[in-house]
C-alpha cells in the first residue's frame, strides 16, 4: 500500500513541475497537445475504465497485447500510436485484465492486492505515464520526505476514510493516540465514520493504502510529531490533487508531461521521476483496484467481478478516468475504492487548490487542515457514487459505508470545471518546488549541477526544502521511519517490479491472510507490522507466533516511491540488506552478510524486449542505461555506477513508445529495470550457435533394472517437438556400460546404426559427422531409436560403468558447437578415466562428529567441466541411484559447467512410483523450458562496492564475470559483496546484472536487471532493512562452501554464530532493552527459526542418519536454487487442509482457491482429527491423522475410511464434492507457482514414509537437535557469555 500512498503526492508534484516555468505557457501547451487522445484510443477507454485513472496506459497496452505478444516487429501494424510500446511489452499487457481480477478477488488485504494490481495496471497507466513524468520530476524528490510525512497524514486519513476503515480500523485504534500529532490529529479517529476523514485527504487517501500495512509502525511513530515539521513538504506533494484534476482530462495530463519535459529536461531527476510517475500512477490504479478488492473480500467474489464488469462497461467510466486521475492525487484510499472511481475530478481540484494555498504556507499545521477540507469533498463524492453502486460492499465494511456517503456531495457538477481548476492548481503546485526534492532524492545531493538546473525553474520557496530533502536517505530513524512505513507494508513488495509480474502466484500467496485481517486484528499485526516496524523489538522467547499468516514478503527498500516502483522485482534480484551500510566498518558491526541473490533467467510473463541498433551503455564502465541514471540534460546522462557523464546517442532521442523526439527518459530502457536487448553482432564472438542436445545414457545392468530408460525415452518422444530450438537444432545419443555406444542417425539411413567403441582408454569418435544430427531431418530415425532403446539392453549383464570415457566422447562431440549434455547415471563409475570408489561408511551416517568426503575425490570431473565450459558446453547430471554414487565427485561436472543436478535416491520405476513420477515431471520441465546458450553474466555495482564471492553453478571468468555455458530459468545465483570504499558521498547504490546469451532461436540477447538501494549510516537502519530470507539463503551458500573447505561442524558453528553475533550486535545498539531477554528486530525475528531449520536440513544436520549423497545433493541445491525454492526447502509451508471450505478464498482464473493460514512446523499443530499439507518445494506431503473425519477421506481421497487409504498414494482423485474441489484447486494453485511440478505423497500416521514428513517439523526436538525454544535459549546463553 505504501506505494500508492506515495503516488498521490507525486501527481501534484508533477503538476507543479509542469507549470513552474510558466504556468500560462504550460497550460496552453497542455490543452492543445492533449496527449490524452493518444492514450485514450478507443480500445483503451473501454479497458481503462476499471483501472480507472491508469487506464489510459493500460488500454493501449492491453489492446496491443494481443497483437504484439509475439514479436515486436509486428507492433508496427498496430493502429495505436503506441506501437512500440506494444512491442516492448508484448506479453506484459495482455494479461492485465485477468490479473486484476484475480487479485481483487482474493485480496482482502490491501497490500497484496495493490502490488498485484500494480503490475497489471502499470502498463495501463499510460495516462498516468503522461502525467507521470511531470509528477515524477517534481514530486519524486519531495517524495522521500513527503512520503514519510504523508504517511502520517495518511494515517489520519485512513481512519477517517472509509476504505481504510475496514482494514485499518482494526489495526490502528491502539495507535491512534500517537497520530494525533500529524495534521489529521486524533479527531480523525473519533470520526471513524470517515466522512470527515475523507476530507483529510488527498494525501491521506493515497497513503491510507500504505498505512494499512504499516499498522505496526504506528506505535513507534510517535516520532511523527517531530516529522510533522516536514509537513510543508508533504503538502507540496499533496498538491497532486490539483494534478489529479488535470489528469481528469487525459490530454491535459499529457500536455503537462510535455511541458515538464521541456521545462525540466535539464533536471536529472526528471527522467527517473517520470518513470516513477508512471509507475506511481500505476500504483494508484492498483490502489483503486485494491479497494475493490477489499470490498470484494467481504462481498462475494462474483459481486466483485460484476463490479469490474460494470465499471468497464459503464459510461461512468469515462468519468472514471478523470476520477482516476483524481484518485492519484486524492487518494483513493477511498478505499472504498469504488467510490473513488466515481469521484469527480472537480472535487479534487477544489480540494487541491485549497491544499495548494495551504502548501505555500509554511506552517506544519497546514497539512492537516487543508487536507481535511478538500478531502471531504472528495470523499463525499466517492461515497455517493460508491454507495449507490456498491452499497453492498460498503455495508460489509460497516463503518466505512456510512462515512463516504455523507461526505459525498457535489462531485459531478464540478467535472467540467475540473480541468481548469486542475491547471490552476497545478500551477500553484509548481511553486511548491518539488522538483528540487526529487532531485535530491535521486541523487542524494551529490550533484550540484543537477541541482542548479532543477532549482532554476523552481522559485525560491523550494530551496529550503531541497536542503532538507538532500539528505533523505541517510537520516536516522525519525526520518526513515516514514519511509519505512511506506516501504514496509508487505504489499509494496511487489511495487518494485514495475511490471513484469508473472504472477498471481506470487501475490496470492502473500495475501491469503488478508481476509483474515478484516476479521481479526491479530492477523493484521502480524503481517502488516512487519515491514513498517521492521525495527520493532520482538521478544523471541516470549513471542511464539512469529510466523506470518501467509508467506513472508520481501522487504521493500526505503526508496522514494518513484524509484521503488521502478526497482527490480525481488523475485529476480534481492539484496540481503535493503539498506546498504555506508562503510565496511558499519557492515562488520551489523554482523550480517551483504550479498545479492539472483534469479536472472527467471520465466517472466512480461518483459520489454528492445531492438535497437545501438545499445546505450556507459563509456567507461559499460553499464547499460537503466532507470536509475540521471539525465543532466537532454543530450547527456550520468552513469549511476561510475558517475561518468555520457552522451545520449541520436537514436536514443527518439522514443518509440510515444513516437516523439527528445524524450530519452521515456524510453523503455529507462522505464523498466528489467529489460532485454536484442544484441547486435558486436556481442558475438562467433555466429550464434544452434541448439545442440546430447543425451548420455547409462545402460548397464543396474540402469536397466531401475527402468529409467523407458521414462526418459518416453518423455523425449513426447517432447521432441517442444525442445527449444530452431531449424538448426541438433541432437545425439551416446550410451555406455563398459563400452561406449554411439548412434549414427544420419538422414537417409533406414534405421539407427549403433557403433560400439570398446577402447575406453583412448576414446575416439567413430563417425564424427553423423552422430549429432539435425532434429528435423532425422526425426524418424530418432523416434525409432527412442522406441527401441528401452528394450535394446534388457538382457545385458554388464555391470560396469565407464562414465568418464563416455563423457570424454561427449565432450569431443560437442566441442565444435557447444550445447547441452544430459548425463543419466545410475551407479558409481567403475571403469576408465574418472573411476570412483565408494567413500561412504554407512556407520558414519549419523555421526555427530566429522562428516568426510564432501569434496570431490578426483579432479577429473572438474577438469572435464572446465573444458566443457570453455567450449560452451554444459553438463546436466541426472543421478538415479539406489546406492552411494559419490555425488560429491560427479556433481563437479555440472557445477563448473553451469549445468544442473537432479538426484533421485532409490530410484526404481515400479518400486518407487513417487520418484518415477518426479523424474517424469522434472524431465518434462527440463526438456521444454527455456534455455540460453554460450552465456556470460556480468554483475556491476556502484563504485565502492565489490564482489567478493560467487555461489552457484558456473565458471568465474573474472572478478565480475561468470561464464555460463548454458543458462536455464531455474538457476539461481548468490553473490557476496564487500564495501571497499566508503559510500558516504552517495545516497543510492545500484547493482546491475547483464546476462548475455544466445536464445534457442539463435538470437543473441542481453537481459538486464537493475536494482537500486539506499545507503544508510546508522546501524539501526541496517537492521531495519535486513531481508531475513535473503540473509539465510546467502548464509546457506556460505555454509556449504565452509563445510567443503573446512568441515561440517565448522559450518554449523558459523551458522549459529551468525545468529548470535547479529542479535548480540542488535541488542547492544538498543540500549534500553532488557539484556535478560532475547530480542530481535522485527525484520530479523525469523532469523533464528530459519537458521535452526538450516541446521536441521539434510545438508547440515548431524546426528540423524543422512546418506552422504543426500547431503551433498542438498548442498548442491542450496548453491544453485533461486531464493523462492530454497526457502521452501529450508522452511516448508504447512497448511491444514481438512477444513478448507471454511477458509477464506481468492479467485484465480475462475477457480476458487482457499487460503489456509501457515502453521508452525511443529507437531503440536498436528491433530489426529486433521489433515495437513506440507509444501516442501519439490514435494508435497499430505499427512492424515488417524481420526481424520471420514468425510474428508471419502471426499478428498476417495476412500471410505482411514484404514483403506493405501500406503503409496500420489494423486488425489477427482471427486465431485466441494472439499475435494477446494483441495485440488489449492494444490494446483500451489503447483502453478513453480516451474517444477512437485510430487504429491499421502502419508498416513503409521506409514514408514512419515519420517520424511516429521523431519521437516523443525520446531520440534529430535534426539540430535534442539527444539526451537531450546535453540533460542542456547542463543541467549551464548549472547550473554
Amino acid at each position: 500500500m505504501s506505494a500508492p500512498a506515495g503516488l498521490p503526492p507525486r501527481p501534484a508534484g508533477a503538476a507543479a513541475a509542469v507549470y513552474p516555468g510558466g504556468p500560462g505557457a504550460s497550460r496552453e501547451a497542455a490543452a492543445p497537445q492533449s496527449g490524452a487522445p493518444r492514450y485514450q484510443n478507443g480500445p483503451v477507454q473501454s479497458r481503462m475504465q476499471f483501472p480507472s485513472g491508469y487506464g489510459s496506459h493500460l488500454p493501449n497496452y492491453s489492446v496491443p497485447s494481443g497483437h504484439y505478444s509475439q514479436v515486436p516487429s509486428k507492433a508496427a501494424a498496430s493502429h495505436l500510436d503506441n506501437q512500440y510500446r506494444a512491442s516492448y511489452y508484448p506479453t506484459y499487457y495482455s494479461a492485465p485484465a485477468q490479473n486484476v481480477m484475480t487479485p481483487s478477488v482474493g485480496t482482502n488485504v490491501l497490500n497484496t492486492q495493490e502490488s498485484q494490481q500494480l503490475y497489471n495496471k502499470t502498463p495501463a497507466h499510460t495516462v498516468g505515464s503522461a502525467e507521470g513524468p511531470i509528477q515524477g520530476a517534481i514530486s519524486s524528490a519531495s517524495y522521500l520526505r513527503t512520503s514519510a510525512q504523508q504517511s502520517y497524514s495518511a494515517f489520519g486519513n485512513h481512519y477517517s476514510t472509509p476504505v481504510s476503515s475496514s482494514v485499518a480500523s482494526q489495526g490502528f485504534p491502539l495507535n491512534s493516540d500517537h497520530y494525533t500529532m500529524p495534521v489529521v490529529s486524533s479527531a480523525m479517529y473519533p470520526n471513524v465514520s470517515y466522512p470527515p476523514v475523507a476530507a483529510g485527504s488527498v494525501y491521506g487517501q493515497a497513503f491510507t493504502s500504505q498505512t494499512l500495512p504499516a499498522v505496526g509502525q504506528f506505535k513507534e511513530t510517535n516520532t511523527f510529531s517531530s516529522q510533522s515539521t516536514s509537513v510543508p513538504h508533504s503538502l507540496q506533494q499533496h498538491v497532486p490533487v490539483g494534478y489529479n484534476t488535470t489528469l481528469t482530462t487525459i490530454s491535459s495530463a499529457q500536455s503537462i508531461q510535455d511541458n515538464l519535459c521541456r521545462n525540466l529536461t535539464g533536471s536529472v531527476a526528471k527522467v527517473n521521476n517520470q518513470i516513477n510517475t508512471d509507475l506511481a500512477s500505476g500504483s494508484c490504479v492498483a490502489t483503486l483496484t485494491s479497494t475493490f478488492l477489499l470490498t470484494g473480500a467481504d462481498a462475494s467474489f462474483g459481486s466483485l467481478q460484476d463490479i469490474m464488469c460494470r465499471s468497464r462497461g459503464g459510461s461512468k467510466y469515462i468519468s472514471i478516468e478523470n476520477a482516476v486521475c483524481g484518485i492519484d492525487s486524492s487518494q483513493p484510499v477511498h478505499s472504498v475504492s469504488q467510490s473513488v472511481l466515481f469521484t469527480k475530478p472537480g472535487a479534487g481540484t477544489s480540494a487541491s487548490s485549497a491544499v495548494i494555498s495551504s502548501v505555500r504556507t509554511p506552517a506544519p499545521s497546514l497539512s492537516s487542515q487543508p487536507q481535511s477540507s478538500p478531502s471531504v469533498t472528495q470523499s463525499s463524492e466517492l461515497a455517493l457514487q460508491e454507495g449507490m453502486q456498491y452499497g453492498g460492499y460498503v455495508n460489509n465494511q460497516a463503518s466505512s459505508a456510512p462515512a463516504p456517503l455523507s461526505s459525498s456531495s457535489d462531485d459531478e457538477e464540478e467535472d467540467e470545471e475540473d480541468e481548469e481548476a486542475a491547471i490552476d492548481s497545478s500551477s500553484t503546485t509548481s511553486s511548491a518546488s518539488p522538483v528540487l526534492n526529487n532531485y535530491d532524492a535521486l541523487e542524494g545531493g551529490g550533484y550540484p549541477e543537477t541541482r542548479s538546473v532543477t532549482s532554476s525553474p523552481v522559485p525560491a520557496p523550494s530551496v529550503p526544502q531541497t536542503s532538507k530533502a538532500s539528505k533523505p536517505f541517510g537520516y536516522g530513524y525519525p526520518t526513515l521511519q516514514p519511509g519505512y512505513q511506506n516501504a514496509a507494508p508487505p504489499a509494496p513488495v511487489q511495487p518494485n517490479n514495475p511490471g513484469h509480474h508473472p504472477g498471481f502466484q506470487h501475490y496470492p500467496q502473500q495475501y491469503p491472510g488478508v481476509n483474515q485481517l478484516s476479521s481479526s486484528l491479530g492477523g493484521l499485526s502480524l503481517q502488516h507490522s512487519q515491514q513498517p516496524e521492521s525495527l520493532r523489538p520482538v521478544n523471541l522467547t516470549q513471542d511464539r507466533n512469529i510466523l506470518p499468516v501467509s508467506s513472508v514478503p520481501a522487504p521493500v527498500p526505503n526508496l522514494n516511491s518513484d524509484l521503488r516502483k521502478l526497482n527490480c522485482s525481488p523475485d529476480s534480484f534481492r539484496c540481503t540488506l535493503t539498506n546498504i551500510p555506508q562503510t565496511q566498518a558499519l557492515l562488520n558491526k551489523a554482523k550480517l552478510p551483504l550479498g545479492l541473490l539472483l534469479h536472472p533467467f527467471r520465466d517472466l510473463t512480461q518483459l520489454p524486449v528492445i531492438t535497437s541498433s545501438t545499445i546505450v551503455r556507459c563509456r567507461s564502465c559499460r553499464t547499460y542505461i537503466n532507470p536509475f541514471v540521471s539525465f543532466i540534460d537532454q543530450r547527456r546522462w550520468k552513469c549511476n555506477l561510475c558517475y561518468r557523464v555520457n552522451d545520449v546517442p541520436e537514436e536514443f532521442m527518439y522514443n518509440p513508445l510515444t513516437r516523439s523526439y527528445g524524450e530519452p527518459h521515456k524510453r523503455p530502457e529507462v522505464q523498466n529495470s528489467t529489460v532485454e536487448f536484442i544484441a547486435s553482432s558486436d556481442y558475438m564472438l562467433r555466429p550464434p550457435q544452434p541448439a545442440v542436445y546430447l543425451f548420455v545414457l547409462d545402460v548397464s545392468h543396474n540402469a536397466v533394472e531401475a527402468g529409467y530408460l523407458t521414462i526418459v525415452c518416453q518423455s523425449l518422444l513426447e517432447n521432441l517437438d517442444k525442445l527449444p530450438g530452431d531449424s538448426r537444432t541438433r541432437i545425439g545419443f551416446i550410451t555406455f556400460d563398459s563400452t561406449v555406444q554411439f548412434y549414427n542417425l544420419q538422414e537417409g539411413l533406414s534405421q539407427p546404426q549403433m557403433l560400439i567403441v570398446s577402447d575406453i582408454d583412448e576414446i575416439f569418435l567413430p563417425t564424427p559427422d553423423s552422430l549429432l544430427v539435425n532434429l528435423h531431418e532425422s526425426k524418424e530415425l530418432i523416434k525409432d531409436l527412442l522406441n527401441a532403446l528401452p528394450n535394446m539392453f534388457t538382457n545385458t549383464r554388464e555391470t560396469h560403468s565407464a562414465l568418464g570415457p563416455a563423457l570424454q566422447a561427449a565432450f569431443k562431440l560437442m566441442s565444435p558447437t557447444g550445447g547441452r549434455i544430459s548425463v543419466f547415471q545410475t551407479q558409481l563409475p567403475s571403469l576408465g578415466a574418472g573411476l570412483l570408489h565408494s567413500r561412504e561408511d554407512p556407520n558414519q551416517r549419523s555421526s555427530t562428529k566429522v562428516v568426510q568426503h564432501l569434496g570431490p575425490a578426483t579432479d577429473f570431473y572438474k577438469k572435464l567441466a572446465l573444458d566443457c565450459s570453455g567450449q560452451q558446453t554444459a553438463v546436466d547430471l541426472f543421478l538415479l541411484s539406489s546406492q552411494y554414487s559419490d555425488l560429491a565427485s560427479l556433481a563437479c561436472m555440472s557445477k563448473y559447467s553451469a549445468g544442473c543436478i537432479y538426484y533421485y535416491p532409490s530410484f526404481h520405476r515400479s518400486h518407487n512410483p513417487a520418484q518415477a513420477e518426479k523424474l517424469q515431471k522434472d524431465l518434462k520441465r527440463y526438456l521444454t523450458r527455456k534455455i540460453g546458450f554460450e552465456a556470460v553474466m556480468r554483475i556491476r555495482c556502484t563504485k565502492g562496492l565489490s564482489i567478493h564471492t560467487f555461489h552457484g553453478n558456473f565458471f568465474v571468468r573474472s572478478t565480475d564475470l561468470l561464464s555460463l555455458a548454458n543458462v536455464n530459468p531455474d538457476a539461481g545465483f548468490a553473490v557476496q559483496m564487500s564495501i571497499e570504499e566508503s559510500l558516504t558521498d552517495t545516497s543510492l547504490v545500484c547493482f546491475q546484472t547483464a546476462l548475455l546469451y544466445t536464445s534457442s532461436k539463435g538470437e543473441r540477447r542481453i537481459r538486464v536487471h537493475t536494482l537500486c538501494l539506499p545507503v544508510v549510516s546508522s546501524l539501526a537502519d541496517v537492521y531495519a532493512g535486513a531481508d531475513v530470507q535473503a540473509v539465510v539463503c546467502l548464509l546457506a551458500n556460505m555454509a556449504v562452501d565452509r563445510s567443503v573447505s573446512s568441515s561440517l561442524s565448522d559450518a554449523r558453528d558459523a551458522l549459529v554464530n551468525a545468529v548470535v553475533d547479529s542479535l548480540a550486535a542488535y541488542m547492544s545498539t538498543a540500549s534500553n532493552l532488557q539484556q535478560s531477554m532475547l530480542i530481535a528486530p522485527n525484520s530479523l525475528k525469523l532469523f533464528p527459526l530459519y537458521i535452526l531449520a538450516l541446521l536441521k536440513q539434510k545438508a547440515f544436520r548431524t546426528g540423524t542418519s543422512t546418506r552422504l549423497d543426500d547431503r551433498v545433493y542438498a548442498m548442491c541445491q542450496m548453491k544453485s536454487q533461486p531464493l523462492v525454492h530454497l526457502m521452501k526447502m529450508i522452511h516448508p509451508n504447512l497448511y491444514r487442509i481438512d477444513k478448507l471450505i471454511d477458509e477464506s478464498t481468492i479467485h484465480v482464473n475462475d477457480r476458487v482457491v482457499p487460503q489456509p493460514p501457515l502453521q508452525k512446523l511443529s507437531a503440536e499443530k498436528l491433530t489426529r482429527e486433521g489433515a495437513f499439507l506440507m509444501d516442501c518445494g519439490s514435494i508435497f506431503y499430505i499427512w492424515i491423522g488417524k481420526n481424520c473425519s471420514n468425510n474428508f477421506i471419502k471426499d478428498v481421497l476417495g476412500y471410505p475410511n482411514y484404514a483403506s487409504v493405501p500406503q503409496k498414494m500420489t494423486q488425489l482423485p477427482e471427486v465431485d464434492a466441494l472439499s475435494s474441489e477446494r483441495t485440488r484447486s489449492f494444490i494446483s494453485w500451489l503447483r502453478d507457482s513453480r516451474p517444477l511440478s512437485p510430487v504429491l505423497q499421502v502419508i498416513k500416521d503409521e506409514n514408514p514414509a512419515k519420517t520424511d514428513f516429521f523431519q521437516h517439523l523443525i520446531e520440534d526436538r529430535t534426539e540430535a537437535a534442539f527444539s526451537y525454544y531450546e535453540f533460542l535459549l542456547n542463543i541467549q546463553q551464548q549472547i550473554c557469555k
Binding site: T858, D859, K863, S946, F955, S958, T959
Partner: protein
Amino acid sequence: MAFTFAAFCYMLSLVLCAALIFFAIWHIIAFDELRTDFKSPIDQCNPLVLPEYSIHSLFCIMFLCAQEWLTLGLNVPLLFYHFWRYFRCPADSSELAYDPPAVMNADTLSYCQKEAWCKLAFYLLSFFYYLYW
C-alpha cells in the same frame, strides 16, 4: 676466495634466482590481469608453479651439500611453505596452487597476489645476498 663448491652454488643460485624473480613478476602480472579481466583463470599461471618449486628446492639441496647452514636456514621456511602448498592440493591435481574456479574468489585472489609480492621481495633480497656473499 677460492672457487669452492660453495662458491659455485652461490653463482648458480644467482642465476636461478634471477629466473625465480622473473617467475614472481610473471605471477604478479598474471594475477593483475585476472583482476582486471584480461585473462581467463583457465590459462592461469599454473604452468610456472612447478618449475618454481623445483628450482627453489634445488637451491636448498645445493646449500645443504655445501654446508651453507645460514643460507639454508634462510631458505627453509619458504621450502616448507612450498611443500605445504603442493601437498594441500587435491590428490591427483596438476592444477596445483591455483584452482581456476576458486581463484577468482576475492580472498583467494588477494591472497595469491600478496603471496606473489612477498616471493618477489624474498627472491630479490636473496639475489643480492647471493651476489654479495
